[in-house]
């Protein structure tokens, strides 16, 4: 037993009564000292709080005075305090990777009730730790340099905020946006809650700043198609799609847009409520100001004729020969600010969106209310002319609903209140809001709700069952031609049928349709809903589990503008810290191939999702690139020759841990285990 050659210290924590109430900590430490002595344990102690400074000092003292070569701490989860105890060992001069923290709290004392069984299991867990730690070897973290440039994916308010913070600090940013202009959804809004600031007014200065910033390179009408590398050293390929407009020559005069004879429904910026030309600028304040020609709908590309834009362009900036261009950039860190898409309200057939003309979605309403929108700010029915006399605003469309999305979309209540206010501002209509709960938690949000109440909006607490144009005659004959909202008024305790002229559906937020592809592209995880998973939901909200890739804004989940801006700034701050330190230490959990044993069978070659496994055809051997390797260990069992080994989770360590875990019976007795 190689563990017998080590000098192992075992420390069992009471964690107050968290562990001690269920596990007989004293007995366990005594047992470890006695029964595991022939496995190398020279000292076994227990302490009320091992993680406290006094607890750590005990460990450090033992290392110095007893010449410990390995340390096992039995306490909480390694996700809590592995760093703490590794730090203590390091301070005492012992390599931190020679310390093992085994969990007897989350996985023993907190989940089992029988004291005897829990104590037996704690013994087993410690035995596993003792045998494992003996096989651990000293390791040094890998140091990698950090490239000072940053990639920001997504040009909405979160992406713009992150980009500006980094750029203002003096470092280069590549800002990639798939639409022709940056601005994101915020550019579509009319006013923002609760201040009722005009969205464009507060956003466009930022957009202009980002567009003109010497440190920001805008890649609009572009997408990231490939990401290689690792933290500090990413190589990213950006596909800049052909605009068919030469940006060098274009002055943004807009004549091409004026002269273009083809009009199509604008399903992006106008949310389907308006039209745009095929040669178009998505909105007047677009950054950059160069238009784009929508190839699939262009007459020239379809039939070879027209070219009106080319004829009239005063600077000859139209270039139909343009092709998509791949740009490769090197960056050190990445911020994903890919935002959200609106829930497709057509899915809820009972609300009639798409079938009944006067049912609108939130984005359609924003465009309608916007003075620069398709109705010049008039609130009208689908006929474009008639003002509604009664408007119903429906909360929670597609959210808080097991049939669609179970989560709350966070911003719709405030948005619905805003709509109620705006309808009141633009018309004399009677306004109903149909809600489940009013979520108005932010600064000045509840005051805004009170204001809307005072302005006379009628609130009905109940989930709308149906929006229909089929009336119950003869009682409802007077409402022929209007819409009827069927809802249970839960506060009044009865069903109500409320005639309205116009319905606005506050549709929920969803991740972009290609969220899972994006996650795969950047090597991060997203949840089953499609939102990016942050490293810790409470304490690390902008980092992902992949070093070097951060996320900001609605890519992480529904949130309002202040939160998105904060996220962007937070991600920027983390990145600036990294850039400033110029290099980073990575956990040394890596695989490596012993070339002497490698036969070149290449079974392992296809197993690495990070392309860290390279085959050298000249020498007929495989090599693992330690910088690209993320340490999953999948290649290790695959090798028939056992030529691949992994630090931190080696075969010897795990096999020893298995042996140790099985040394103790269910009742706490040592078992004579016959070695396999």
């Amino acid at each position: 037993m190689s563990s017998a050659q080590e000098r192992i210290g075992v420390y069992v924590c009471h964690c107050g009564s968290n562990i001690a109430a269920t596990v007989d900590v004293e007995a366990v430490s005594e047992w470890a000292g006695e029964e595991l002595a022939d496995r190398g344990v020279v000292i076994a102690r227990n302490d009320k709080f091992m993680c406290s400074s006094s607890g750590q000092e005990v460990v450090e003292k033992d290392i110095a005075e007893l010449g410990l070569t390995r340390v096992v701490v039995a306490a909480c989860s390694p996700h809590m305090h592995e760093k703490t105890f590794r730090g203590a060992c390091a301070r005492a001069g012992l390599n931190p990777y020679l310390c093992e923290l085994v969990s007897i709290r989350e996985q023993v004392s907190w989940v089992h009730t029988d004291r005897e069984a829990a104590t037996a299991k704690a013994k087993a867990v410690i035995a596993g730790g003792v045998l494992r730690v003996a096989e651990q070897v000293p390791l040094e973290p890998l140091r990698v340099p950090i490239h000072p440039a940053t990639l920001v994916v997504g040009g909405g308010i979160a992406g713009i905020s992150a980009a500006l913070e980094i750029a203002d600090a003096g470092f280069a940013v590549h800002l990639v946006e798939r639409q022709p202009s940056i601005g994101g959804h915020m550019a579509q809004f009319d006013k923002t809650f609760p201040t009722l600031d005009c969205a464009a007014c507060i956003l466009t200065p930022r957009m202009v700043e980002a567009g003109m910033h010497k440190n920001i390179t805008l890649h609009t009408w572009s997408e990231v198609t490939d990401v290689k590398g690792y933290v500090g050293n990413f190589t990213v390929t950006i596909k800049e799609r052909a605009r068919y407009i030469n940006a060098e020559l274009c002055t943004g005069c807009g004549i091409c847009q004026e002269k273009c004879p083809i009009r199509v429904q604008d399903n992006v910026f106008e949310a389907g409520l308006g039209f745009r030309k095929v040669a178009y600028l998505p909105f007047p304040q677009a950054v950059p100001k160069y238009p784009v020609i929508d190839g699939p709908n262009c007459t020239y590309f379809e039939k070879g004729t027209c070219k009106a834009c080319e004829k009239f362009c005063p600077t000859d900036a139209i270039d139909f020969t343009q092709v998509d261009k791949d740009v490769v950039v090197e960056v050190g860190n990445i911020v994903l600010a890919t935002g959200f898409e609106l829930f497709d309200a057509r899915r809820i057939e009972q609300y009639g969106y798409g079938r009944l003309p006067n049912v609108f979605t939130s984005l359609e309403f924003e465009r309608m209310s916007n003075a620069a929108g398709p109705t010049n700010g008039r609130i009208v029915l689908r006929d474009g002319v008639t003002e509604p006399k009664t408007v119903g605003i429906v909360h929670c469309v597609g959210s808080r609903d097991r049939n669609y999305n179970a989560y709350c979309s966070a911003i719709c209540c405030m948005q619905s209140l805003k709509f109620a206010h705006l309808v009141g501002e633009h018309t004399d209509a009677t306004i109903y809001n149909f809600y489940i709960d009013i979520r108005a938690g932010g600064k000045a949000y509840d005051e805004f709700y009170q204001r809307v109440l005072e302005e006379g909006t009628i609130f009905v607490r109940g989930r709308v069952a149906e929006v229909t144009d089929t009336l119950r005659l003869p009682a409802e004959a007077a409402d022929e031609g209007r819409l009827m909202i069927q809802v249970e008024d839960t506060l009044a305790g009865k069903q109500r049928r409320i005639p309205v002229d116009m319905v606005v559906l506050s549709a929920g937020l969803e991740p972009p349709a290609d969220a899972k592809e994006t996650a795969r592209l950047f090597g991060i995880s997203c949840s089953s809903d499609g939102w990016v998973i942050e490293r810790h939901p409470k304490l690390d909200p902008v980092a992902t589990m992949t070093d070097g890739v951060f996320a900001a804004g609605c890519a992480l989940g529904p949130r309002d503008i202040p939160a998105s801006v904060s996220n962007g700034a937070a991600a920027a701050a983390r990145i600036l810290g990294r850039i400033q330190q110029k290099e980073m230490a990575l956990e040394p959990v890596r695989a490596s191939v012993d070339e002497a044993r490698c036969s070149g069978c290449r079974i392992c070659n296809d197993l690495c999702p990070y392309n860290a496994i390279i085959f050298h055809a000249d020498r007929m051997v495989t090599e693992v690139n330690p910088a690209l390797c993320q340490g999953c260990g999948t290649c290790i069992p695959a090798c028939p020759a056992g030529a691949i080994s992994g630090t931190g989770f080696s075969d010897a360590q795990i096999l020893s841990q298995i042996e140790g875990l099985l040394m103790v019976s269910a009742s706490g007795q040592l078992r004579e285990v016959v070695p396999a």
């Binding site: 907190w110 989940v111 995880s525 999948t634 042996e659 099985l662 078992r671 016959v674 070695p675």
Partner: protein, 180 residues
Amino acid sequence: MSATTTQAPVGAATDSAGAAFEPVMIGFTCNWCSYRAADLAGTARIKYPPNVRLIRLMCSGRLDPAFVLKAFAGGADGVMVSGCWPGECHYIEQNIKALRRFVLLRRVIEAMGIEPARLQLVWASAAEGQRFAHEVGRIVEEVRALGPLGWGRDGARPHESIAAVSTAAGPAAVPAEVTA
């Protein structure tokens, strides 16, 4: 579910002392999902049986079938393999590779005379503490019903057990000659 040392009911599996049988099991978890699910079960104080002793791997893909065989040979009555849900692996798709190995391994152990139900696979994401606890409870009962594996404990050597199984099942089940 607590361990008892009282006499087991008639017909129930017992250990050599005649007490109610408590399976000893090893559970392999992955650092990012299932280990965190176990931690979450802990923080939420969800109770489950103490029979499964967990090992943390970085990824379910790290699981070498030899680990499972070592566990059985070393005296485990059952082994649980757990990881992130397919499609959600922290290392993109390594849990799929783990799944492949699991499926083949199950067939192998069956050929060796071990009931396939002693090796179980559980997917659990980091948010599924409740589910993790529930699955552990279920698996423990299933293994308990199968009784002790009887390998590598109390002095029995693995190849002796194989021979015992093969003679019980009939000469065609396993080759008569089994070398250690």
